[in-house]
């Protein structure tokens, strides 16, 4: 418990440090935000300086960088993340809506990954070197190696274009979830399979498993009660991190499938120099990763008596 409290106490300063980075990084690129955004409004290649000053004031981009940061931080602490430079709508609502979409995708992808990865890893680890082990290990290596931008088009062409079984793009119905969730699930499923397989091989060699077998307990019982339970602990404790990584890394999937999630929101925001969205979106992803780290640690402590 003390460990967890210590971790929780680290969160506020870590978030504050992250906020400095998130604020500074887009500005270090040297891009002229006011000019970029003004182009979308006036279709003018070179806006006049007076207008630039007016718009800079409207955006809160006047004054020194430190002043701008403190203004932004004070507003953020009050829950006001500002207005998008581009859409002129509240950033908090935009990020919130997009986050829900990405969370749904990530959680479903993780569930699918565990649903496949746990039994595949456990059964592969039961007989190392066997046919099933070789097949699962080979598939795992492929799954870890093949990136999403390869998997997504293959799935679209097979299941949307050829079979016409599910939509190719879009969002709004359960059918729209199928291809993106499967695409996102491949990597964590393959990773989970490999981790669980390795853990299962190690756990099944431990003395307590040998004792259980010697007592004449059924093989299935020994495998799942004494072996797989321990083997899956580490993977389950990593699930929180998986979700955080999936949310932050779903840009490609969300753009290819036209999904209004956080990854696509951030991608568009970076292209448009929409600083409030970049700041709020990135900070949200960082916060999720930090919180997921603490939760993962809590899960590990709860599941693994040795760690406690």
């Amino acid at each position: 418990m003390t460990v967890l409290v210590r971790r929780l106490l680290v969160l506020p300063p870590a978030l504050l440090a992250a906020s400095v980075l998130v604020f500074a990084l887009p500005r270090l690129t040297g891009a002229d935000t006011v000019r970029t955004v003004l182009r979308t409004r006036t279709a003018d290649a070179v806006p006049d300086p007076a207008m630039q000053s007016r718009v800079a004031a409207e955006f809160g981009l006047d004054g020194s960088a430190a002043e701008q940061y403190l203004r932004w931080l004070a507003a953020a602490v009050r829950g006001d993340l500002g207005l998008s430079f581009v859409t002129r709508t509240p950033v908090a609502a935009q990020v919130g809506e997009a986050l829900l979409v990405s969370m749904l995708l990530a959680v479903l992808a993780l569930l699918l990954a565990l649903l496949f990865g746990i039994p595949a890893g456990v059964y592969a680890g039961r007989r190392p070197g066997g046919l099933l082990d070789r097949v699962v290990t080979g598939a795992g290596i492929v799954g870890v190696s093949v990136p999403e931008f390869v998997i997504a088009p293959v799935l679209v062409l097979v299941f949307a274009v050829q079979a016409a079984a599910v939509p190719a793009i879009g969002w709004g119905t359960p059918a729209h979830l199928v291809l993106p969730v499967v695409t996102l699930a491949v990597y964590p499923a393959a990773l989970a399979t490999q981790l669980i397989r390795a853990e299962t091989v190690a756990v099944l060699r431990r003395p307590h498993v040998r004792t259980a077998r010697a007592k004449g307990l059924p093989p299935g019982w020994v495998l799942w009660r004494h072996g797989a339970r321990l083997a899956t602990t580490s993977v389950l404790s990593l699930s929180g991190m998986f979700v955080a990584a999936l949310i932050g890394g779903s840009v490609v999937v969300e753009v290819i499938f036209g999904i209004p999630g956080l990854g696509r929101l951030l991608y568009d925001a970076v292209l448009a120099q929409d600083l409030p969205v970049i700041q709020a979106g990135t900070l949200t992803v960082i916060a999720i990763a930090l919180i997921a780290g603490v939760l993962s640690e809590a899960a590990q402590l709860a599941l693994d008596p040795v760690a406690r």
């Binding site: 207008m51 002129r88 293959v154």
Partner: protein, 506 residues
């Protein structure tokens, strides 16, 4: 440089292309059979459908919003929400007679006061769009069926200016002080915008009380799909019945799936700008040598595979005054001779461009090779446009490969000619300065006849060609595909409605 995310997306696009070459396509879906269609549009609303942004033009394309005037195929102003217009005795004022029997989507009638509210709003925003900025535009009701529109100086283009997408007219209920006007059920067009899902999608329903020809399609779901390969696949799979901006390389696969694909010119030019504020391009002969060394026909047909037309002039086939004939083939011998006459046996120059448009790095490499044949060594740098712009505007460059739309606001080229090529132009990258050219362009401020203006545009472009101000490389083409719908009418000018013409096939 490419970001990792963009690299991954580019790789995905390439893979899609390869895979789709190996596939046919699903049978068309029945979604168009009941009078409903789904379309994939290339550009999402960038600013929540704000009229002071490019989104006004998007609302026109969708068939939601309308302006006082529109344009015909010859880029002449024609009736929109106004049926007639005339100059008053005051040369700075025009009188527009409003169309009778028009109602907004909220049921209220189109009145002179409604027009005053709409146009007054757009002139008063923090950053007024270029179509009205610095014009001193004011609007007044004039009787029960007309408005008068005045500008600080006589404006010969006012009827044409009124066709700009920025100047759509919404119902008075749309305008609430301090807020962006709402576009849901407040416009006048053939489609009613009934719901919006951010920059992801929107739903349009037929305006049953529309003053003109009603669309054949009852309901349109608009999906904004920014990835070009995803748009092509959506058309192939039958998810959408119409998609604009198809990648040229996937056209054959889309056709194989049963779609009809139309390629049409865009009002855009890829131009190789040459810095005339410094050597070596301050010398006309060197600029002419560069022009002679580049084979624009090869660049269009072979390097870009027909995704663009070779450019003989600043203006291309998208506009009535553009040159339709191809440019001459390359002549390396003449290029070498001109270089020698200019005192150069060899030359090393820098060429900058940016990757935001995928054809730019490809063209830069091909141009580098062609100029190499003529003895001009080119060092190509592909970088971020935002970082390059201050340097090129300051004249700290040799060659800059740029892509420029020459009709930013409405079907008139005065703006681009002034900003890009006059001595005091705000976007005069190549630092071309000619009193004769400036005089010619200045004549536009007193020329109201559209035909006469178009003649000046053509003459100005010819002067730029003669002076080898830059090398106009290609005019990119737009593409659009339909499957299960008919009636698509290309709009190279980008100011007229597209979706209302689409109707379910059969």
């Amino acid at each position: 440089m490419f970001s990792p995310a963009r690299l991954r997306l580019t790789a995905a696009a390439a893979l899609l292309l390869v895979l789709s070459a190996c596939s046919g396509g699903a049978s068309p879906t029945a979604s168009s059979a009941n009078g409903e269609i789904t379309v994939a549009m290339q550009f999402p609303p960038r600013s929540a459908y704000a009229f002071d942004a490019d989104d006004g033009a998007l609302l026109m394309t969708l068939g939601v919003a309308e302006t006082l005037t529109t344009v015909d195929a010859n880029a002449q102003p024609t009736a929109g929400l106004a049926t007639a217009w005339e100059k008053t005795s005051d040369p700075k004022t025009w009188r527009f007679t409003l169309r009778q029997g028009v109602t907004f989507h909220d049921g209220t009638p189109l009145t002179p006061d409604a027009v005053v509210t709409a146009l007054t709003y757009i002139t008063g925003v923090t950053a007024p769009p270029r179509s009205v900025r610095d014009t001193g535009l004011t609007v007044k009701a004039d009787g029960a069926d007309a408005v008068t529109i005045s500008t600080a100086q006589p404006d010969p283009t006012l009827p044409l200016r009124m066709s700009s997408g920025n100047l759509g007219i919404l119902a008075p209920s749309a305008y609430v002080a301090g807020k962006q006007p709402t576009v849901l059920r407040t416009a006048t067009g053939p489609y009613v915008l009934t719901s919006i899902s951010g920059a992801d999608s929107a739903v349009l329903e037929r305006n049953e009380t529309y003053w003109g020809t009603k669309p054949a399609t009852g309901k349109v779901t608009v999906r904004y799909v920014t990835d070009p390969q995803s748009r092509a696949l959506a058309l192939q799979s039958g998810d959408v019945q119409f998609a604009e901006g198809l990648p040229h390389a996937s056209v054959e696969q889309v056709k194989a799936a049963g779609a009809e694909v139309v390629s049409y010119p865009a009002a855009r030019t890829v131009e190789l700008l040459l810095n005339q504020s410094a050597k070596p391009f301050s010398d006309l002969k060197v600029r002419q040598a560069v022009t002679a060394a580049i084979d624009r026909n090869v660049l269009a047909t072979q390097v870009l595979g027909g995704a663009a037309a070779s450019a003989a002039d600043l203006f291309g086939p998208a506009v009535p005054w553009g040159v339709k004939t191809p440019p001459p083939a390359a002549d390396p011998a003449t290029a070498k001779r001109l270089l020698a006459e200019a005192g150069h046996s060899s030359l090393t120059v820098r060429l900058w461009t940016f990757p935001n448009r995928p054809e730019m790095p490809v063209l830069a490499t091909a141009v580098q090779s062609m100029l190499g044949e003529a003895g001009i060594k080119v060092e190509v740098t592909v970088g971020d446009y935002s970082a390059q712009e201050p340097k090129v505007l300051a004249g700290d460059f040799d060659m800059f490969l740029n892509s420029r739309s020459y009709l930013s606001d409405f079907a008139d080229a005065a703006s681009v000619l002034t900003s890009d090529y006059t001595c005091k132009g705000s976007y005069n990258i190549d630092h071309f300065c000619s009193a004769e050219f400036d005089r010619l362009v200045a004549g536009l401020s007193t020329t109201s006849d559209v035909g006469a203006r178009q003649k000046i545009f053509a003459d100005a472009a010819a002067m730029l060609t003669e002076q080898a101000v830059g090398v106009m490389i290609v005019h990119p083409n737009n593409t659009a595909g339909s499957r299960g719908v008919t009636g698509f009418v290309p709009d190279p000018l980008g100011v007229r409605p597209v979706l209302p013409h689409l109707e379910p096939a059969g």
